[in-house]
């Protein structure tokens, strides 16, 4: 049984808005990234998992328990950071976290304290006056303090400054290493690329593609862009018959697609030619999804 299972889930808000026939499973201990533009259906999917939304059709399950019917029971195992954070009407971050701890019947606040330290969060600050980053950190501590097995994060890093984003992502990756099952939506390809095991792309309420990061990182071929110092050497190289993905004659530049075990052949041939620079063009998640969308649109 997979920890999170979404089967043919549809929530139709009319005017083509909503999510349509979503199928997605997340295994225990897996971290899945969820990318897509605003309004593409990321939040609706996550809210369905929390049992906040009754599906038009289809089902979703957490640990085998249907989400809408078992919302309160499921919630005990889930740490959730919503996309737009609204705190209850309490004075300080401390008061809020204490409330949460009571609600979760926590005996100790040790883990919460450890996290606030790591995030350098001043919990004595006024809840209403907190900056976006502080609110986000407070929400994360509240979500994780009960040590839940499942973590749902709705754009947790949007609007954070670069330093806070690093601190935030480090903490989430630690949870991942502890074996938690995590679903995280994001705008930033770089971020999910670094931390997630698999990534799903959603567009207009439909899942367009799901890709394993291992497949992105360990491709059988690599692209190298090479610029030569002179026309002659560029021409000599072009005659060798490497698979050229892109040629820019004007700059004596060529991008060649090389099988991983051909790298020594490439260096052998480059010996004696005057190279200005050589650089790998990495195959990124963004490039993968751009190509998927291009096929989709044609």
């Amino acid at each position: 049984m997979d920890t999170i299972e979404i089967k043919n889930l549809t929530k139709d808000y009319g005017n083509k808005r909503g999510i349509f026939d979503i199928n997605l499973t997340i295994k225990k201990g897996e971290m899945l990234g969820f990318v897509g533009t605003n309004g593409s259906g990321k939040t609706t999917t996550i809210r369905s998992l929390m049992g906040f939304i009754k599906p038009t059709s289809g089902h979703c399950f957490i640990n085998g328990k249907e989400c809408w019917k078992n919302a309160s029971e499921n919630a005990k195992n889930i740490g959730y950071v919503p996309g737009e954070i609204a705190f209850p009407d309490l004075k300080t971050g401390n008061e809020f976290l204490k409330n949460q701890a009571e609600f979760l019947h926590l005996k100790s606040g040790d883990y919460a304290n450890e996290m606030t330290k790591k995030l350098q969060l001043d919990t004595s600050a006024n809840l209403k006056r907190m900056s976006k980053g502080m609110k986000q950190k407070t929400a994360l501590v509240a979500a994780l303090m009960g040590n839940p097995d499942i973590i749902l994060l709705d754009e947790p890093t949007t609007g954070l400054d670069p330093l806070m984003r690093v601190a935030f992502m480090n903490l989430i990756e630690e949870e991942h290493h502890k074996g938690k099952t995590i679903l995280m939506s994001s705008h930033m390809f770089e971020e999910v690329q670094e931390s997630c095991d698999r990534v799903a792309l959603i567009s207009d309420g439909h899942i367009i593609d799901i890709v394993s990061m291992n497949d992105i990182k360990n491709r059988p071929c690599k692209d190298y862009k090479i610029e030569f110092l002179n026309k002659e050497d560029f021409k000599k190289f072009m005659e060798l018959g490497f698979n050229a993905a892109r040629v820019q004659k004007k700059y004596n530049q060529v991008t060649v697609n090389i099988k991983n075990d051909e790298i020594n052949v490439l260096f052998k041939e480059l010996k004696g030619l005057k190279v200005k620079f050589i650089s790998e063009i990495p195959y990124t998640l963004k490039r993968h999804f751009d190509e998927v969308l291009k096929v989709e649109n044609n």
Binding site: T37, G159, D161, N264, F267, K274, I278, S279, E280
Partner: protein, 311 residues
Amino acid sequence: MSVIEVSHLTKDYGSKRGVFDISFEVNKGECFGFLGPNGAGKSTTIRHILGFSKPQKGSIKVLGYPSFKKYYKFLNKVGYIPGEIAMPAGLTGYAFIKMMQDLQGVHNKKKLDYLLDLFDLKPNVLSSDTKRMSLGVKRKLAIVVAFMSDPKVLILDEPTSGLDPIMQNNFINLIKEEKKEGKTILLSSHIFSEVDATCDRIAIIKDGKIVSQFVANDLKHATKKFYEIYFKTKVGYGKFYDKYKKTPFLKILRNDENKKMVFVEIDDKNINTLINILNQYDLDYFTNIKETLEDYFMKFYKEDVSYKGAF
């Protein structure tokens, strides 16, 4: 000619907060990037430029006018997006646009329609109350209002924070067009890709001080390159490492025996030497690690976070 001129600006709020001896200028037709985390002093500097705050020391000029004393001389030539958007209550999006047009004294329908289309602001959204708009819509409306009078100078405080990648891309294209028209732009942002794509010069601000100011292209076209070289065998790895660990032109910055990997720094002018050397080895994989704007930025903040990046 410098359109925005900040010289030795200091505003001390106590407890080390504020800005201290900040100097930079933004020339006509230039986009100047302002990078720093929250609380570093970006907004404080920007608010001084607009004449909202009085400097304790130093001076600021916009279009030749001193900011605090003569702000009324230039405000109608400046488009501004504040870091936190607060809109007057009880107005629809349309009413807000009309109010701002009247204040700016410019009604440029063509530009307005172009911007509304670019940021996908539809009539059903614009006829609703600004209070009920999502954060993203408010941000987009603020961008439209700042650009719609076609001002000569644009001062943008984290303009795209929270917008999705497509809208961020549209924003980047807009900035490029405005630059072509000779507009002068100051852009404070967290988003490295955005600053990378638009800015000619960049300043990094930390604890109220500018710690680095540089031409964006210098970073992009740096001739110093970093490569990861993975060897097929431990023997090959060991041989390479022993032979070149003390070579001046080929600096080994990091090495990992288990991965059979060395991480080297080399200047472009020595790349052919490296190729010739590598020819004598059996390689598994070879890749370059680019120093991005983010890497460069993080260097200045290294002591504050446990940074696990390439350097």
